[in-house]
Amino acid sequence: MTTPLEPIADIGGAAQPLLDVKGLTKHFPIGGGLFAEKKIVRAVDDVSFQVGKGETVGIVGESGCGKSTTARLLMHLMERNSGEILFDGQLVGATFSLRELRRGMQMVFQDSYASLNPRLTIEDSIAFGPKVHGISDKAARELARDLLTKVGLRPEVFANRYPHEVSGGQRQRVNIARALALKPRLVILDEAVSALDKSVEAQVLNLLTDLKRDLGLTYLFISHDLNVVRYISDRVLVMYLGQVVELGPVDAVYDGPAHPYTRALLAAMPAMDPDERTMTPPISGDPPNPIDPPSGCRFHTRCPFAEEVCSKVVPALSPVDESGHLAACHQVIPGSGHSRAPVLEAA
């Protein structure tokens, strides 16, 4: 019997962020035929953020803003153009292998069916990862059955089924079990509950909350569903056209959004009270083409408060208050030149 898989060790202690992303950038070249001019899609452009140990960070934004690309870059499923990804203070390289990183960081994909091999039974799919890392077949199967119980599926019923023989919610539970099989410390959930109907979504969200508490996990929760993100996250990160526009504690961002894009996004949430229905569109038009993003602040083409400075100067992420709430808007940068910006205190 081989030794069971141990979770990889905590290195930096509680104070060190589990994930530290600095200047992450991914550009996709498109076209570039013999005569066509080569163009570049700036899918993820200079994204920096940190995820603390035991925290749940949500990433929101409309489709095409680079959320999923960010997830794939973090998992090293895709080569990044530049930027650093530090996992518990370590960069993948000589002393910290990609294999080790993948022990520590796992991902749950959106499409529960496409992310399971249709030719493998559920047990085989879950046991695959541990076997790759040197666990014996028998021990890996035991682990798989154990995990099935943990995600609320009876192993004697489900272990030998094929993915097409179970429902969508059950498949996503299997995907969660598969991600947990390597005992990761960070789980990236890329739209993991978005394809499920509401009642099943709630069950899976509760399962995720329970698992986090029981296993001491850290989540990076990517979704376009603002309600779900508010429910599950401690901090939230808002992305627009491949960039972070706002970042902060979830209540601070939801109750006092500082960036006009976040405000528009929150205003677009359907109200529970029919008397407070959203009557006027908070934002109009499609996001600009990421091939040729607008100059300065990328949101200035759709922003109701856009002024001259917005099309010229790129706003840096700046503190809104003392709580760690940051926004990339000239309106919060003292002395930025925007008429609504706070006045720069005399030095």
Partner: protein
């Protein structure tokens, strides 16, 4: 899925794990056409293998006075050919070479083509371009012409026709394998496998092979009939088997002059080629639907 049916699923009787290929076999047995075709093929193959034990007439023993007897002549159930040799015996013995030339090139091409296509499809990028463009060069020629050209260069003979047919089929199988692999490669479960830290060889073995083999296998079974017809064509042109060796294509060639004298006998080798081709096609069709896991 509602809570009620969820509960029903949970309470469902315990599933016994059944191997994938066992379920495919079970589904194939329910397909009547495929079963009949498989039975006919089995009969022909067994007859060819055990020909020496069937107490048939000598397939090489000719007789000038008993040439081109019609079907049903006493002592010669399927008549005699242009040299007075027993047709039944020659057809049974001919099956040995014809089936060998029909099946062996496809098996060889299946192994080589699948490996090439799998590597090209999984690696993508420059590796893919290198392999696929090389394959395209072969694709530029019609398969009959290519087979004739290669056989012509290598010289007549059974081994050479097997080699030339293998070369003809490799590009076709590679192309199918590459396109299937590419489509599977982009599915999330391959990314999930990569994310679990598995190397490319493990991923190809565990996650790719099972999902790509089916369509390639079905395509390859369809090629067996093409291979037999091409091999018959090569023999017909004198590039394959040499007389007096019994082989269906060659027999069709030598008997064609007798088509006005005794059309029934002259058509027999063609009937055999036709029957085997149709059976392989039907069988591969049945296999295709049996391999669909959602049935």
């Amino acid at each position: 899925m509602t809570a009620a049916s969820d509960a029903a699923l949970q309470a469902a009787p315990v599933h016994k794990a059944r191997g994938y290929w066992a379920t495919v076999g079970r589904r194939l047995l329910r397909d009547k056409v495929a079963v009949v075709c498989g039975f006919i093929l089995l009969l022909i193959v067994l007859a060819a293998i055990f020909a020496p034990f069937l107490h048939l007439a000598d397939p090489y023993q000719g007789s000038m006075i008993r040439r081109l007897r019609p079907i049903g002549t006493p002592g010669y159930p399927l008549g005699t050919d242009e040299l007075g040799r027993d047709m039944l015996s020659r057809l049974v013995y001919g099956g040995r070479l014809s089936l060998l030339i029909g099946i062996l090139p496809v098996i060889l091409a299946f192994c080589i083509g699948t490996s090439l296509g799998l590597v090209a499809g999984y690696a993508g990028g420059k590796v893919n371009t290198a392999i696929m463009r090389t394959v395209d060069v072969f694709y530029a020629f019609p398969s009959v012409l290519l087979a004739i050209a290669i056989s012509g260069v290598l010289g007549a003979g059974i081994v050479n026709s097997i080699v030339s047919l293998t070369v003809v089929f490799i590009p076709q199988i590679t192309r199918v394998a590459e396109s299937v692999t590419t489509s599977v490669r982009n599915l999330d479960f391959v990314d999930a496998a990569r994310a679990s830290g598995a190397g490319p060889l493990t991923i190809m073995r565990v996650h790719m092979l099972g999902n790509v083999l089916g369509p390639i296998f079905v395509y390859a079974t369809g090629l067996i009939s093409v291979s037999m017809i091409l091999a018959a064509g090569l023999s017909f042109l004198g590039l394959g088997t040499k007389p007096p060796e019994p082989e269906w294509g060659l027999m069709l060639n030598t008997l064609r002059t007798a088509i006005y004298v005794n059309p029934g006998v002259a058509a027999l080798p063609g009937v055999m080629i036709f029957a085997v081709s149709i059976c392989f096609n039907m069988l591969s069709d049945g296999l295709r639907s049996a391999m669909d896991i959602r049935n």
